[in-house]
């Protein structure tokens, strides 16, 4: 408790609060811009932290980290283009709610659940950082593989009336993740002689193409009927207490999931948001409403991906291992200021870890204000004439993907992914499953192959050597079987009646 008070003493100074507020605002704005995620927003600020006090510098970056994870959800709701990878899942129901005229519900569901998830993550970090780090260490390659396999079973339920199409789209996404240099053999794979493919496909252009450009193509095919968007006056009503109460249990569960996933090095916010979405959809009494504008489809991924911020600090602070790109930037900031993270940090310089704990909590309170400002500003985008909006989306996704890598090749990838996306939409193939396959494909393959090295080539050993991986694999298999046979069971039941 005394250490937490020590942390509070450092945070509750006007310079610290000002830096934290600026960090949250910059992170939120950065997250809103396609191509600039939390990591890039942090990296852009890193040089400015040079002369700062170490605690203030870390607080600034922690604020950017929190804001960046949230900011991506605003364009996901308003234009169907996620600002960050982790917000990809928010598009499914957030954009559907916006199109139904319930923009306020979607935007505030995202804001409140992000804030709540972030706070749960911060509290978890305060009290269970050390025990959670031992859980994270219990996860080896076989467990990561099984976890990714479990997450991938979501593709089965994304195929609407045709499960096989969902699975195919997921396999296609995994196939796209195998393009480029093989991480173990070091040889180019499926590049077909195209040099720019050697590095593999990047997530940002793929997502921009499959989500944003596909939507532009779809809208252009439907014709621009009105002068402005279908929602001339955007409803920005804040959801009532009754609704918030309904979301709370799901938000809490998904935030806890986010903390655990965040604590595992390499998993990250995108995996957490997809797993949370999958979990809520499968547990819901009305799974068919997901993807059509169910607010829980926004609450689940947003609370999970913001809770990751707390979880991701666990391996960094307790073990000195950065589990994600953003925490790697944070490690860079530690090194600039001659701070060595690890167990001894809690003994030698307790003010740093404990001020990070309190910073994360306060950053989420400030995010309420930053989010409110950004929402008020961003809804104006949705009010511009539809023809202009579509053209602006094209300009934004092309510029954003170029900015991400500085290569014109990535604009070509966006365009090709847009064409593939519209063909998939016409063929009723869920491109969300392709994105999920792409995210989890790399994690699955890399960890399966690592696990095979450990088990000396025994595939059965990968699944049976650890209880965690056995249980996760069994859940994954049961989930696939249920998705395949549940429609048959339902049909048999209804014909029996």
């Amino acid at each position: 408790m005394s250490n937490i008070l020590l942390g509070l003493k450092y945070v509750m100074q006007w310079q610290s609060l000002l830096m934290l507020g600026l960090g949250v605002l910059w992170g939120t704005v950065g997250g809103m811009i396609p191509g600039i995620n939390a990591t890039i927003a942090m990296a852009l600020l890193l040089p400015f932290t040079w002369g700062m006090d170490p605690v203030v510098a870390i607080m600034l970056l922690a604020g950017v980290y929190c804001g960046g994870e949230y900011g991506g959800s605003i364009p996901a709701v308003l234009i169907g283009a996620p600002g960050t990878n982790a917000a990809a899942c928010t598009v499914f129901d957030g954009y559907a709610l916006h199109r139904k005229g319930e923009t306020g519900k979607a935007l505030y569901a995202s804001l409140f659940s992000s804030v709540y998830g972030g706070m749960v993550g911060a509290v978890a970090l305060m009290f269970i950082a050390i025990p959670l780090s031992s859980v994270a260490l219990a996860f080896g390659p076989a467990e990561y593989f099984a976890l990714a396999a479990m997450g991938l079973t979501l593709v089965c339920s994304l195929g609407e009336d045709n499960v096989l199409k969902g699975i195919w789209a997921g396999l296609f996404g995994m196939l796209l993740s195998t393009i480029g240099f093989d991480p173990f053999a070091g040889c180019p794979r499926l590049t077909f002689g195209v040099l720019s493919l050697s590095d593999g496909l990047k997530m940002i252009p793929l997502m921009m193409g499959l989500f944003a450009l596909t939507e532009v193509f779809h809208q252009s095919m439907n014709g621009v009927s009105g002068d402005t968007t279908e929602n001339n006056k955007i409803d920005l009503k804040v959801p009532g207490l009754g609704e918030l109460k309904k979301w709370l249990p799901w938000g809490t569960l998904c935030a806890c999931l986010g903390v655990v996933i965040g604590a595992m090095p390499g998993a990250g916010a995108t995996v957490a948001s997809f797993l949370a979405y999958s979990f809520v959809k499968k547990s819901s009494r009305d799974p068919d409403s997901f993807g059509k504008g169910n607010p829980l489809g926004v609450v689940a991924p947003e609370s999970a991906n913001n809770a990751v911020t707390g979880g991701a600090m666990v391996p960094l602070l307790a073990l000195g291992i950065p589990g994600s790109n953003s925490t790697a930037i944070m490690l860079g900031a530690f090194m600039i200021h001659n701070v060595t993270p690890g167990p001894m940090l809690f003994v030698d310089k307790p003010e740093i870890p404990y001020s990070i704990f309190t910073t994360l909590f306060i950053a989420n309170v400030l995010m309420l204000l930053a989010g409110y400002i950004c929402i008020r500003f961003a809804v104006r985008i949705a009010n511009i004439p539809k023809s202009a909006l579509l053209a602006v989306i094209v300009a934004l996704v092309f510029t954003g993907s170029y900015a991400y890598s500085g290569e014109i090749f990535d604009i070509q990838v966006v365009l090709i992914c847009g064409i593939v996306g519209i063909l998939m939409k016409k063929g009723k193939l869920p491109h969300a499953a392709t994105v999920l396959g792409f995210v989890l494909g790399f994690i699955m393959e890399a960890n399966l192959r690592r696990a095979l090295i450990v088990s000396k080539g025994s595939y059965m050993g990968v699944f049976t050597n650890s209880k965690i991986s056995t249980v996760l694999c069994l859940i994954a298999v049961a989930s696939v079987l249920w998705s395949l046979f549940a429609p048959l069971v339902r049909r048999m039941r209804s014909s029996g009646r």
């Binding site: 396999l171 093989d182 579509l390 094209v394």
Partner: protein, 158 residues
């Protein structure tokens, strides 16, 4: 679950699988530090895709043999893809022109052409949107975020 037109998806699915199998053929002899090697996952995925494709082709053919038309056989017209084809053509022209014309000149042209394709007819609105969006994006990315956007021939003038 299956539709009469699913044979198109089935054939595409098989084609993707076959292209993948062909693409990894040369990698079979590559030695890797792990027992699986670089081809195992793509091969499993390719066969999975071919299998799903084959199921759809067979199911669609059976549906066609069983009944004449069950409601999902509305004529498919390529004309609906006209705006998509035009936007793709303009985007391809933008990508080709970007290194030479530079971002400040090629982006307004792209924005204007997309607006015309989607049905905008007000010239002042097209000009205003094209210029304002380009200036705003250029300011954010070039000056604000230090992204070196291509300037084309303007680079020599600046």
């Amino acid at each position: 679950m299956f539709k009469r037109n699913d044979w198109i998806f089935g054939l595409v699915a098989i084609l993707v699988g076959v292209v993948t199998l062909n693409g990894i053929r040369e990698l079979a002899s590559v030695r890797s530090m792990d027992p699986a090697g670089p081809t195992v996952l793509p091969r499993i995925l390719a066969w999975g895709m071919i299998g799903i494709g084959a199921v759809h082709v067979i199911a669609a053919l059976l549906l066609r043999l069983k009944s004449s038309c069950s409601g999902d056989c509305a004529r498919f017209s390529l004309r609906i893809f006209r705006p998509v084809a035009l936007i793709v053509a303009c985007s391809a022209a933008f990508i080709a022109a970007l290194p030479y014309l530079g971002y400040p000149l090629s982006m307004p042209l792209l924005i204007a052409s997309v607006m015309v394709i989607v049905g905008e007819r007000s010239v002042p609105r097209i000009v205003k949107t094209a210029i304002l969006t380009t200036v705003l994006l250029f300011a954010i990315f070039y000056w604000g975020l230090n992204v070196s956007l291509p300037l084309g021939f303007l680079e020599e003038l600046m």
